[in-house]
């Protein structure tokens, strides 16, 4: 089996990552009853004997001794990482997996990307190599970061470059949290657009996520719980309840970050566990990315109650599929149903059969628009291990032109600042940062939007089939 290494960068990246490791441990605890270190566990965790000093070799078989996350925690300030190290997850990380600084990136992409990038490159490479060496067959790096700040967006995308240079064969999946319109970081449009260019050029696949969508989903779940009319109740032992019901302990962003953590768990479940139709990570890019730059996938997770600690009586299975395509279940504010699909994947977990999948695809297909050359652009995976405490779940990944609206909005906000050249000097102070960086990033983003536009335009008219090859008889 293959392994993945998670690289969490910046405050947001580390907070999301922290939730991910927590939920991953809980999931394995629920699935792995025997307490033996197995291949499924090895995809995200090493098993080490901590009694041995120094660099003890990993234990590949037998009882679980001490699990260490295959992760690299990077932040240019200490707060969040220190908090993790003092929290309940402290044992899954050790000091060799951390890179921190004290002064922060000041919400400045250039500081993160250029300054810290240069300064920390060697240390980052060294720690990445170390993590890679401990893998039997490293398949994928998951970079978790946010787009708006300085460290996540700047240093995060710098690391993406490093990964491409040092590990060209290993996939680079990026979970990017996009800032909302009312973001309190004034320079967040600059940071995001500068980061976008890097994502377009160096990632294999980007899962964009918007804070506002996460917030809406969390409110919706809370409403479901509070209304109580569905017979819902808070579960004692679900995946997301932190050891009993103590909502006081939960931090404000935890519920939102749990959603992202679940996204990553469900994305990798079919690669980690058995199923009648496996879907490995390399199949995601192969099937969903028809053109190299158009690798932004809009995701949705259903049913919603699998994301929280509520026990809602299960509704019809088909509802889960319908919801997955509705506007208010997407992890970015977009409406894929009214835009054009290039490709779509359904990753199902739990007690769902091929016939359920087929029935729902047939049912939903007429209401969705697919690009003319990929009218049957569906990819499916069936993983037999359900999410903890639930019978089934669905992760939908869509390569859909609706993602361009997020980019357009970002471009507008960027232009508002850029026209007045506001705050530019903060960036140009940094070595190697020139104004051309801004114009190049802007044109990269414009090109990307234009590529989606072209697809929308060419698919409006009647499709003309290309003439087939003729055979001389």
């Amino acid at each position: 089996m293959t392994q993945s290494v998670v690289v969490q960068v910046g405050q947001c990246g580390n907070q999301v990552g922290c939730r991910f490791w927590d939920l991953a441990l809980r999931e394995y605890a629920a699935v792995n009853k025997k307490g033996l270190y197995d291949e499924a566990l090895s995809s995200f965790f090493r098993n080490v004997d901590t009694r041995a000093d120094g660099d003890a070799a990993d234990i590949s078989r037998g009882k679980i001794c001490s699990l260490k996350a295959r992760a690299l925690l990077i932040d240019m300030e200490e707060g969040v990482v220190n908090e993790i190290l003092q929290g309940p997850l402290r044992d899954v990380f050790d000091s060799k997996q951390l890179i921190t600084d004290v002064s922060g990136s000041g919400n400045n992409w250039a500081v993160g990307h250029r300054l810290y990038g240069c300064q920390y490159r060697d240390r980052i490479v060294e720690k990445l190599r170390k993590a890679a060496e401990r893998c039997d067959c490293l398949q994928c790096f998951f970079v978790i970061h946010s787009m708006g700040g300085g460290t996540g967006s700047g240093l995060g995308t710098f690391i993406l470059n490093v990964l491409e240079e040092e590990f060209p064969e290993v996939y680079r999946f990026v979970t990017s949290v996009y800032p909302s319109g009312e973001d309190d970081v004034i320079t967040s449009p600059y940071n995001s657009v500068l980061a976008m260019k890097e994502l377009s050029e160096h990632a294999d696949c980007v899962l964009p996520i918007e804070n506002e969508s996460l917030f809406d989903i969390v409110s919706k779940i809370n409403q479901m719980t509070k209304s109580g009319k569905l017979g819902s109740c808070v579960k004692q032992s679900s995946l997301v309840t932190s050891g009993g019901i103590k909502p006081t302990k939960e931090k404000p962003f935890d519920a939102m970050n749990n959603i992202v953590a679940n996204l990553l768990l469900n994305l990798t479940s079919s690669a980690r566990f058995e199923g009648s139709l496996n879907m490995d990570l390399n199949e995601i890019t192969m099937n969903l990315v028809p053109f190299p730059r158009l690798h932004y996938l809009v995701s949705s997770l259903t049913p919603l109650y699998t994301l929280a600690d509520v026990n809602v009586p299960s509704r019809r299975l088909d509802q889960m599929f319908s919801d997955a395509f509705s506007k208010d279940h997407q992890l970015i504010r977009a409406d894929p149903k009214h835009c054009l699909y290039l490709a779509c994947a359904l990753l199902v977990r739990g007690n769902v059969h091929v016939s359920d999948l087929r029935r729902n695809i047939e049912r939903l297909k007429p209401s969705l628009r697919f690009v003319s050359w990929n009218q049957e652009g569906w990819k499916t995976g069936l993983c037999s291990v359900p999410p903890v405490g639930h019978s089934h779940s669905l992760l939908t990944l869509a390569n859909n032109t609706c993602v361009k609206h997020t980019f357009l909005e970002l471009k507008e906000r960027f232009m508002r600042l850029y026209k007045k050249k506001a705050h530019l000097h903060h960036y140009l102070h940094t070595d190697g940062m020139e104004q051309s960086c801004f114009s190049e990033a802007l044109s990269s983003l414009s090109d990307l939007i234009e590529e989606y536009n072209q697809l929308d335009v060419t698919n409006c008219g009647p499709a003309i089939d290309p003439p087939r090859l003729k055979i001389a008889m």
Binding site: D136, S276, P290, E376, W378, L469
Partner: protein, 453 residues
Amino acid sequence: MSVITIQLGQCGNQVGREVFHAISKDLHSTHGLCSRKENDAYQAASKERFFSQEETGVPAARAVLVDMEPKVIGQTLSMALKSGSWKYDDQSHFCQKQGSGNNWANGYCVHGPKHKEVIMDLVQKEAEKCDRLSGFLTLLSMAGGTGSGLGAFVTESLRDAYPTLFLLNHVIWPYGLGEVIVQNYNSVLTLSHLYQTSDALLVHENDAIHKICAQLMNIKQISFQDVNQVIAHQLGSIFQPAYSSDGASQYSRSPLGDLMEALVPHPEFKMLGLRNIPQMSENSLAFSTFAWPGLLKHLRQMLIANAKMEEGIDWQVRPPLPGLPPSQKQSLNRTAHFNTSIANLITLRGKDVQTADLGGFRDPALYTSWLSVQDALAVWKTPRAFNKYEKSASLVSNSQFLLKPLDGVVAKAWKMFASKAYVHRYTKFGIEEEDFLDCFTTLEQVIASYSSL
């Protein structure tokens, strides 16, 4: 003579497991409904074909399991072991850590050459266990990357290493919708390569089998296992022993050779389809009786109307009148959806097989003009009942049955190719646009050939 089965990729391994399970179950069935002597001969012939006797007493399947990812093979091995009545040789499998990612080029250009030696060594070890080897049966799906890409590579390697043995590819045709997005590319690449190497391609369409599960087997929630079990039953019904001629005293020695001889008279035509009758759930089977005339009448109409199962056959389709000039015949056929055969092989199993009248299949109007009925129709029989069915008939046919699905796959792949979508994923591993064009040409040729019948 023995047959070595090569299971390739997730689908190939899952189907293979069900095939051996079905064969083993039939072998030990107490519903043989024939004399003790007959049953013994049948069992002996079947065992020689598919299993080698191990010291432990549990027969081991003559199979080589190949996948680029470990989960499915692990599952397959342990499920076989659990059955207690048969198992896989614990040395006869090969897997890697990372799958081919639905990329044909990755399977064919990277994994194939890299692992050729190990895989061919496993095949040779299996071959050395056989007293007499008839040939190879490969099981693969053409949608993914390993079964399709590596499968095509292994097929070519087998052809090089064993030029005189028979080579039959069993190909699972993916659901039209929703398995793999690049399945049409992978299918075009697979089919064109296999068509140039293999002796014949035996095709099962998932959509057709899914319908059989829903309508004939009455399964409400259909899983891949259900689909694979129907496929396994159909394969068993032609590969289990049968007498290849009237008055033969021995079961056919060379199952693959006889099959090719009967069905592939011309190298340009090697697409084989399989249908059987009756097919129903075990519950219904207990309350049903069958008569040969009824079964064969249905089977004949399934053939000429190109129906995959006995339900919903179009009874309006009739063979064309004799004496029409070929051109007129062709256009008539097209409007009437008449399925012209090149050759057919019928296998009858069970009670009173000697009384079955196959006159309906001896009508020259069913076949092309360039082959006489004697050469175009082969019949195999055995009084031994198969898999709890008192009487059963299977038909392997080399006919126009696959024209429409093949044309559909080529059309969709061509449309995608025109937009250049996904092509960069293949060029990355060394399959260039030129290679795609060659494959399209090969398949357009196949379509043209079958259309002109």
